[in-house]
Structure formats: C-alpha cells, structure tokens
C-alpha cells in the first residue's frame, strides 16, 4: 500500500467538474484508490464519494492506493488533485 497527502489549491475546491476529473483518473488505474478527509474515507472511483468529501480550497486529503500499479496510482492522484484543475486563477 502507498500513502500520500495533497492540499487542494484551486479556489473553487473539488466541485462537480473536478470531481469527474478525479474519478476519471482513479479509474484509469487497476489499484484501489482511496481518499480521506477528516476521517471520512471514500473510494475515488465513485463520483458520489468524491463529491461527498466536500473538499474545499485549502483542505488536506490523504491518498492511499493498493494494487499492482499502486505507485503510479499515487503519483497520478497526487498530480491531478494538486493541479488546480485548469481553473482560472483569480490572482493572475
């Protein structure tokens, strides 16, 4: 099992469109992918799960992956969750 932590940076948080992006990425791996926020642990391959985290800007998520491609899965999830989801940056 691999574990890591990531902070949500984009201003709007993980709302509907990012949630779909997260699920899409998670399902591209064979391993199981879990996200945890404040004790609430969900399956990242479920959009309802990702939505129910209500991950707003600044919150920390624990990622855990388990399976044949768990390392790539951890790297992939860390990348997508930390990416800002291509949102317009207010400060620019």
């Amino acid at each position: 099992m691999q574990t890591g932590t990531v902070t949500i940076t984009n201003r709007l948080g993980v709302h509907a469109r990012p949630s779909a992006m997260v699920v899409e990425r998670a399902t591209s791996f064979e391993s199981e992918v879990w996200l945890e926020k404040e004790g609430l642990k969900i399956n990242a391959k479920s959009i309802m799960g990702v939505m129910m985290l209500a991950a707003e800007q600044g919150c920390e998520l624990n990622i855990s992956t388990e399976g044949p491609d768990e390392q790539q899965a951890l790297a992939g999830m860390t990348e997508i969750l930390g990416s800002g989801f291509g949102e317009i940056d207010k400060a620019s």
């Binding site: 709302h15 779909a20 959009i47 309802m48 707003e56 317009i88």
Partner: protein
C-alpha cells in the same frame, strides 16, 4: 369545491397563468421503509438497475433537448448528473445495503443519497451546494422510477397546468416547461434563485416562497398565478377568473408565431421616422432565428446568464461557442454583448470573499470585471473571436466614472494585441458602448458619448439608483416610479449627450417595452429600443400608428411637468388616445 383564497408569495417571473394545479411532491418526503424477505432481494436489486437505466435515459434526453434549445454549454449541467446516476460504486453500496438490511430498494437508495449529501449540506460554498442539488436531482428522478409514481410523465401535461412544488432546479424548470407547464408556484426559493432567472428567460410566470404551497393547494384545483405581483389565487370565482383571462401571458411559442407578423410592421412612424427595435436576450433560444428574419438584432445580450445557468465558470471556448452562435444567427443585424453584469442580484458568492450588506452598491458589473482581469480578459477574447462572424458590439455595464471606461479600453487594447500576435482574426473596429445606469454616468454622459461608439440606458438600475428604491422590497416598491421627473431628466441628459456627439442612444430597460413610456422615449430622441422579444410586436404596432411629431410634443410637455403626478397624468392621457389609434398593439395574440 375548494373555498376561494389568495396566497401571497414573492414575484419571481412576471406574467399571468390560469390553469389547474398539479402538485409535485419532493422525493425526500415520501420514501417508506418496508422489510423484505431474502428471496425478494434479487427483485429489489433489479428495481435499482431498471430505475437507473430510466434515469440515465431521462437525463440523456433532457441534455439533448437543452442542447437544442439553449445551446451546447447548457447541456453540460447534465453531464455531472449522468455521472452521478451511473456511479457503479454507489449502486453497489445500494445493492449491498438491500441484502444486508433486508429492506426495500427505495429506502436504501434514499438513505444513501441523504448520507452522500450530508457534508455538502453543511458547506456554505455555492459550488459544494450545487453538487448537493445535482445529487438530489438525480436521486429524485431515480426514486420516482423505483416507486413507479412518476409526476413528470413522458407525455406532455394538459394545457394550462400549473406546477406546485417545494422547489425546482434550473434543469427541472426547463424540463417542465418543455412538458407544457404554464406557470410555477414553489414554497421555497427567492426572486434571485437560478430557477427564477431561468423562468424569466423562458417567460414562464412564477411565484416563489409561497408558504406551505403543497399543503394549501390541492391537485386539480383552479389557480391564477400572477407572477408580477407574486399572488396565487386558489379556486377563484368566475368573475376574477374572467378578469384575469385577458392577461394570460402568451407562451414562448405564441410569441414566436406572432414574431413572424413583425415583418409586416416596420417600426416607422406615420411621418416617416424609423425607430430601431432590438431584442434583449439572455440565452440562445428557438426564437433567435425568427427574430433575425424580422430584421431584429440584439440590443442587449446579458452574457452573465451563460454563467448563471451553468455550475461553473465558462472558459473561453465555451463562451466563444455561445457568442459565435448568436453572432452568426443574427448576422447581419447587431448583437450588443454586455460584458458580465455579475454581483448584486445575480449570484456570485464564489467571487465575493465578503458578504456585502448592500450588494446593489457593491462589487458588480464593470467593477467585478476590472477586479478580476483574468475573467474579463477571457470574456473579451471570446467576444472578439466571435466578432468576425457577425455584427458584434461590446457594452460595459455599471460605469460610474470615465476612468473605469479608460481602464476597460486599455484591457481591450491589450487583448487585441494578444490576439493579433496569435494570428487570430477579429473585428479591429468593434464598436464599444457605455451602459448609462447610474446617475453619475448620466450626469457626465457627454464624457462617455465622446469616448464611445454608442450609449445604452439601463432604465431599471437608473431608476433604482435615482430614487433609492429597491423594487424587490415590498415595503418601498411602490416608490419605484419610472416616470419620476428626476429619472426622465437623467435619460434626457444621456440622449442629448449622444445627439451632441452623433452617437446612437438605445434604451434597454423595462421602460423600452412599456407602451406608455415608448412614445415618450422616442419623442425624447432615443434612436433604439431594446426589449424582451415578447413585447416587440406591440411596440412595432404602436410606433407605426403614431407620428414622430406627436411623440416629440408629448416629450416636451412631459419634461416640462414638475411633479410625478403630472407626468403620470400626461402619459396616461396619451396612452388612452394611443390605444384607440393602435388597437392591435394592445391586443393579446390569438
């Protein structure tokens, strides 16, 4: 027979609808839990699969028809809902719950939906709340399929059905309108909710915040919905029914049918003065083609609706798709794209770090655009890219000082340089206009006229700011009088400024479509009136029956009047005369 009664709610979308009530219950109120036998488990699980299949079919169909009537980006609202409906992991949890708890499918499904939205419900972030709404909308649909009690059947509603519900999402509003609903009454909601905005753009009369509407109104009872006053009459007597009959809002389709008659009524006065008529448009719609064929352009494209009816901020390509479509649809007629007028009465919590105690005087319109250059630039890029497709113009809202105009012009110039460097085609001489809707801008209208290509008077805000009256506040709404001499003077100043510098001045608030105000505004020298499409026919009929000379005289006497009472009397008398001269302007479409 029910006893006649009258209930007051909040006016959300103007217009009158008469019909029979159809009460729709919310999904979360009626999901009884029932124990099942172990051998019933497979049947209950199958019920889940079948309901989800139907839900996905429903959503796909709504998405397609939304794409057709409101354009591509609108249909994206439903993408998230489709993913939610088909969430494999979630459905697995539902099925596991059925075998483990040995209870019926709908009770497991509804409790898990409830659980999924628990954290979202606590959030104050509008984006998080939107996800809750999306999940609940899907849950509602799937549960109705599971229980087999579907209040939104595939067939159309009988004509003149008035929907009574707890609350409706924008998607449901759109769906019910397609099914032929004539009016909406909800027990929750505000005049500024997305549902209300969508209802207004669909010309669907709606009253919201009618306390316990679902309990007070029985299925099948006769209703009168007065969306303008926010009143619902339950089981009215025949006299009231008859008196309201003549005021029924023609539905959007009737308006389109009538639009085709517009071609035969050029807006030219009896003494040969032409007035430009154009439409206020919120979202692309089926009427666009009919309008363009009648030679009508868009005097005010309220671009913020693209954002309001979607659940995310539209990116450049998404905006371009809207602007490009509209520009092409109306070409060669003008399309005046007003940059986002967000803030104030239009939801932008996600843009506002602070709750404003006085949003009408707060961060809105051009202030927001200049405050978040990334959003402003994205929108300008999309508009400029679309400018080669038709006759596109840019209009800036909420200007209070010439410096704001200059700053906006600098941003536009920079964006143009950017596009040129990228080799992107655009109209280099795209006309830029200033919206005059604040007294400070009207008083300095000459500065704006000198530096822009045209002026547009936003009469609703101008009157609100001049008279210090919030029309949505019932206690002071009666003080909102558009014919107040002070308001007329500011409009006159603006028109004079335009005339001095040879720039056209259009009027694009509600005054433009008011049959008492239109002759006055034309007499004052307004070159163009922009209004909701449903009012164009009446305006054209009125203009073609009157002379420019009599309108100018009307303007002279009205402006000379010192008090509100006098101006209102003068206009009423003129209106009565006009009614005789142009009866067709005052008749409802057949």
């Amino acid at each position: 027979m029910a006893k006649p009664s009258q209930i007051q709610g909040i006016p959300a979308s103007a217009g009158v609808a008469l019909g029979e009530a159809r009460v729709v219950y919310s999904w979360d109120t009626l999901v009884p839990e029932r124990s099942i036998l172990p051998e019933e488990v497979p049947a209950e699980k199958l019920k889940v699969d079948l309901a989800i299949e139907k839900t996905i079919a429903d959503l796909t169909r709504i998405r397609e028809s939304a794409g057709k009537t409101l354009g591509g980006a609108t249909s994206k609202i439903f993408d998230a809902q489709l993913l939610i409906a088909g969430d494999f992991q979630f459905l697995q949890k539902v099925k596991d719950g059925i075998s483990k708890r040995l209870v019926n499918a709908e009770s497991v499904y509804s409790s898990l939906i409830e659980e999924s939205t628990a954290t979202l419900r606590k959030s104050r972030d509008p984006y998080m709340r939107q996800m809750q709404t999306d999940i609940e909308a899907v849950g509602k649909k799937a549960l109705l399929h599971m229980t087999g009690d579907n209040p939104a059947p595939e067939r159309r509603f009988p004509p003149n059905t008035i929907l009574v519900a707890k609350k409706l999402t924008p998607a449901e509003t759109l769906h019910y309108q397609e099914l032929g609903v004539a009016g909406i009454v909800t027990s929750e909601g505000t005049a500024h909710s997305h549902m209300a905005l969508i209802a207004r753009s669909l010309y669907l009369p709606a009253v919201v915040a009618v306390e316990r509407a679902q309990n007070k109104i029985r299925n099948g009872v006769r209703l009168i919905v007065d969306g303008g006053l926010g009143k619902v009459f339950v089981a009215p007597d025949d006299a009231l029914w008859e008196s309201y009959k003549g005021r029924v809002s023609p539905d959007a389709l009737a308006n389109i049918t009538r639009l085709s008659e517009l071609k035969h009524i050029p807006p030219v006065t009896t003494d040969g003065h032409t007035v430009e008529l154009s439409a206020n448009v919120e979202l692309p719609g089926v009427r666009d083609k009919a309008l363009a064929e009648c030679g009508i352009g868009v005097g005010l494209y309220r671009t913020e609706f693209i954002y309001l009816q979607s659940n995310h901020f539209p990116d450049e390509d998404e905006q371009f798709e809207y602007y490009d479509n509209t520009a092409a649809q109306f070409a060669p007629h003008k399309v005046v794209m007003r940059t986002f007028d967000l803030g104030s009465d239009k939801y932008v919590e996600e843009l506002q770090p602070l709750q404003e105690s006085n949003p009408a005087l707060g961060w809105r319109g051009i202030r927001t655009s200049l405050g978040i250059p990334a959003i402003f630039r994205t929108q300008l890029r999309a508009i400029l890219r679309a400018s080669t497709r038709g006759n596109v113009r840019i209009l800036l809202p909420m200007l209070t000082d010439i410096d704001e105009l200059r700053r906006a012009q600098r941003v536009i110039k920079r964006v143009m340089v950017e596009l040129r460097n990228e080799g992107v085609e655009f109209d280099r001489r795209i006309p830029l206009g200033a919206m005059i809707e604040v007294p400070s801008a009207a008083l300095t209208a000459e500065c704006f006229a000198r530096q822009t290509s045209f002026l547009a008077v936003g009469t609703n805000d101008l009157a609100q700011y001049t008279l210090a009256v919030d029309r949505d506040n019932n206690r002071v709404a009666n003080l909102y009088r558009m014919f107040h001499p002070a308001n007329l003077k500011l409009i006159k100043l603006t028109i004079e400024a335009g005339r001095k510098f040879g720039k056209p001045v259009s009027i694009c608030g509600e005054m433009a479509s008011d049959l008492q105000a239109a002759p006055l505004l034309i007499g004052m020298g307004a070159t163009s009136l922009s209004m909701t499409p449903g009012k164009l026919y009446s305006a054209a009929a009125l203009i073609s029956a009157l002379s420019y000379q009599e309108m100018k005289e009307l303007a002279d006497i009205t402006l000379a009047a010192a008090t509100l009472k006098e101006t209102e009397n003068i206009l009423r008398q003129f209106y009565e005369k006009a009614k005789e001269k142009a009866p067709e302007a005052f008749s409802e479409p057949a």
